[in-house]
């Protein structure tokens, strides 16, 4: 039983990581007033970029860099459409999801000829597990030992990056001048503009931050968990991150717990497949798959607190009418 719990916690952390990274990515963007439903597309683009470059160079770090670059480029496209051209942010996000889904599969087929996948990564192209000191020695200590050896130790570096990004994001958003301005631009851009700060530049920096984190999220999928890019490998995780962002009410620490919850549901669904639960019977896998979305809708319905988005989210800022 205890072993099961440890394994579940381990799986939860692995599954939560890309959600958390994408969720924090969305946090920067939406806090600055730019709604981003293109998280999915950016993750997918990054997964492809990372998989392709890591395969060619056999270097995971170059892969990560490529993944981040692709994602930031897509972010800038989103910024160009929704900040500079004041286009509809939802429409722009939808376009980015389409572009990423199509281009990754198309270019993947053109370059590698494996039906859109990238070839399996060579040695060095993947991130490896980081084993914490003394993990093997303490494994036999009851309770704490397995927890240390399985849950804390033995993840890819990007997992630790994701969880360290939580306090960092909190600090940036709530304790720095940049963060204050970023949040202000999402609540009342006109006031920020009056203070002599460029709304456009603030929002661009926010979407770039979003692109970087989405890039790490996508790269994690293709060169840390997986070994190469697969067609549509994000499979809706970008949208689940969006749900988590709302569920967490646009707060970094809540975002972490929400992503852990959603990750746990995923891990539990996989684990409980075909298992009879006392008094309930067998719970279909689909229940676990739908539960994060159902929970988010229940939250939106106002039954678990109230999710209030940044006030200026989704509204393009018009400096003056000409």
């Amino acid at each position: 039983m205890f072993e099961t719990i440890i394994l579940m916690m381990d799986a939860t952390i692995r599954v939560s990581t890309p959600l958390l990274l994408a969720c924090l990515a969305g946090l920067y963007s939406e806090r600055s007033g730019v709604v981003d439903i293109g998280l999915e597309g950016k993750m997918l683009g990054a997964a492809f970029g990372a998989g392709a470059v890591a395969y060619i160079t056999a270097n995971a770090w170059l892969g990560l860099l490529a993944g981040i670059s692709v994602s930031v480029l897509l972010s800038l496209l989103h910024g160009f459409a929704s900040i500079s051209n004041r286009g509809n942010q939802i429409v722009s996000g939808v376009a980015i999801n389409f572009l990423a889904a199509g281009l990754t599969a198309l270019l993947g087929q053109t370059w590698f000829r494996q039906g859109g996948r990238t070839p399996s990564l060579p040695d060095g192209g993947r991130f490896t597990e980081i084993v914490w000191p003394f993990a093997e020695q303490v494994r036999n200590i009851p309770f704490i030992g397995p927890f240390y050896a399985e849950v804390l130790s033995g993840h890819k570096i990007l997992v630790y990056v994701a969880f360290l990004a939580v306090p960092l994001t909190w600090w940036i958003l709530f304790r720095t001048r940049f963060g204050l301005r970023l949040r202000a631009v999402g609540e009342n851009p006109a006031a920020v503009d009056t203070a002599g700060i460029s709304v456009v530049w603030m929002r661009y920096r926010a979407v770039i931050a979003c692109g970087i984190l989405c890039g790490v999220a996508g790269s994690y999928l293709s060169i840390a968990v997986g070994s190469g890019f697969g067609v549509n490998m994000t499979a809706g995780q970008g949208f689940m991150a969006l749900a988590a962002l709302i569920f967490a009410k646009w707060k970094p620490v809540s975002a972490m717990f929400t992503c852990l919850l959603f990750g746990f549901l995923d891990a539990a669904g996989t684990r409980l497949q075909g298992v009879e639960i006392w008094l309930i019977g067998e719970v279909p896998l689909q229940v676990f798959q739908a539960l994060p979305y159902v929970l988010t809708v229940v939250l939106l319905a106002g039954f678990i607190g109230k999710a209030i988005p940044p006030k200026a989210a989704g509204i393009p800022y018009l400096k003056e009418r000409s």
Binding site: G102, G236, R321
Partner: protein
């Protein structure tokens, strides 16, 4: 840069044309990038979609789907709502069609089943749009987010239903039994053999789609409700002052929108597949967004855009056969570019065009 500065033909003709041209130009660049000749590709695409009767039949079949999902997005647009849940609404709409067909197909001819299938699909699609609509109207949670959530809930819901409840006994496939003749719409090839549509699955639901276009046009521009929907979409605050109930408009508009999306299932399930199966929507709901944007939310525009996307789907299939480098993913890229240029970047060319059409003295006078 407010409206009314440009002649009508520029606003409705030239700007959409420029946006689309930009989308197709970039598509051409993508084709060059993967090492093929874009002009050859266009030739194959046109021949495959319009060049012979059977290909044209396929084009019309796809266009039927896009008319429904495009109208769904368009109706919501008029009320200032963005229904991104066409995918889920169409999927669940399939249930309505399947219930009608499974219940009636052994007893009555198709023309008796059809009205029930239409009602069923519209009712199920509308039901799937109801909760997002209600949440937006009553709780102010954004309909975009909730419809995305409902898309994913529908995927799980339908997989469960088809895998555990509706599955035909003893089958490994997650699908219902195949409908008898009473649950099948006639193919146009059987109705008009002289057109030579061959094996193209285009069927009588094309006419249901066209009727829906007329109905939407009448609703939006010729009824009191349509006026209220447009007023609410143009300026919600003013509409409320004019005595229009926002809750009623949001809910009713979303129900109509969801119903239209659900009706897409008639074409796919009753018209072509003759059984309810997993993943039959395959993105048609999302393409509806592109169709509505391109068709500028007007039924005539939507028919034209739907045929264009039908051509892309059918011609794209032909293209992936003739030029294996250009896989069907190219169509997704083109859709993305159309959504980008005709939607998100729709105002990109506007300032330049305004400058071009404003006589220089007037501009100088304005600046002075």
């Amino acid at each position: 840069m407010s409206g009314g500065q440009l002649p009508r033909w520029v606003d409705l003709g030239l700007i959409p044309f420029l946006n689309l041209s930009a989308a197709f130009l970039v598509s051409g660049l993508v084709v060059i990038l993967i090492g093929e000749n874009p002009l050859d590709a266009v030739k194959v695409l046109l021949w495959g979609s319009l060049g012979y009767a059977e290909g044209f039949g396929f084009t019309l079949f796809y266009a039927t789907n896009f008319i429904f999902t495009g109208l769904a997005v368009a109706v919501a647009f008029h009320a200032g709502l963005f229904n991104i849940g066409g995918e889920g609404q169409a999927y669940v709409g399939g249930l309505g069609v399947a219930f009608a067909c499974l219940a009636l197909d052994q007893y009555v001819p198709w023309y008796v089943t059809l009205p029930f299938a239409i009602l069923g699909s519209a009712a199920m699609g509308a039901a799937w749009a109801f909760i997002p609509a209600w949440l937006q109207a009553k709780r102010g949670s954004h309909v975009v987010i909730t419809t995305i959530m409902f898309n994913y809930i529908s995927f799980s819901f339908m997989v469960y239903l088809l895998g555990n409840v509706l599955k035909k006994p003893g089958s490994m496939q997650n699908e219902t039994r195949t409908f008898e003749d009473g649950g099948r719409l006639p193919f146009l090839n059987d109705v008009f053999p002289s057109f030579g549509f061959g094996y193209a699955p285009v069927n009588l639901s094309l006419f249901v789609a066209l009727a829906a276009c007329v109905a939407v046009w009448f609703l939006i521009w010729r009824t009191k409700l349509g006026y209220e929907i447009r007023s609410f979409g143009a300026n919600a605050t003013a509409a409320v002052y004019a005595g229009i109930s926002p809750v009623r408009i949001i809910v009713v508009t979303m129900l109509i929108s969801g119903g239209l999306a659900g009706m897409m299932a008639i074409n796919e399930i009753m018209g072509s597949q003759h059984r309810l199966l997993i993943d039959f929507v395959t993105g048609y709901g999302f393409v509806g967004i592109a169709v509505a944007l391109m068709g500028r939310a007007h039924p005539v525009g939507i028919i034209l855009a739907a045929v264009l996307f039908g051509m892309l789907y059918q011609g794209g299939a032909e293209l992936s056969f003739e030029m294996p480098n250009i896989t069907r993913d190219m169509i997704i890229v083109i859709q993305g570019l159309v959504i980008l240029f005709a939607g998100a970047l729709e105002h990109m060319f506007r300032p330049a065009i305004v400058r071009f059409f404003t006589p220089s003295q007037a501009l100088a006078a304005k600046e002075a």
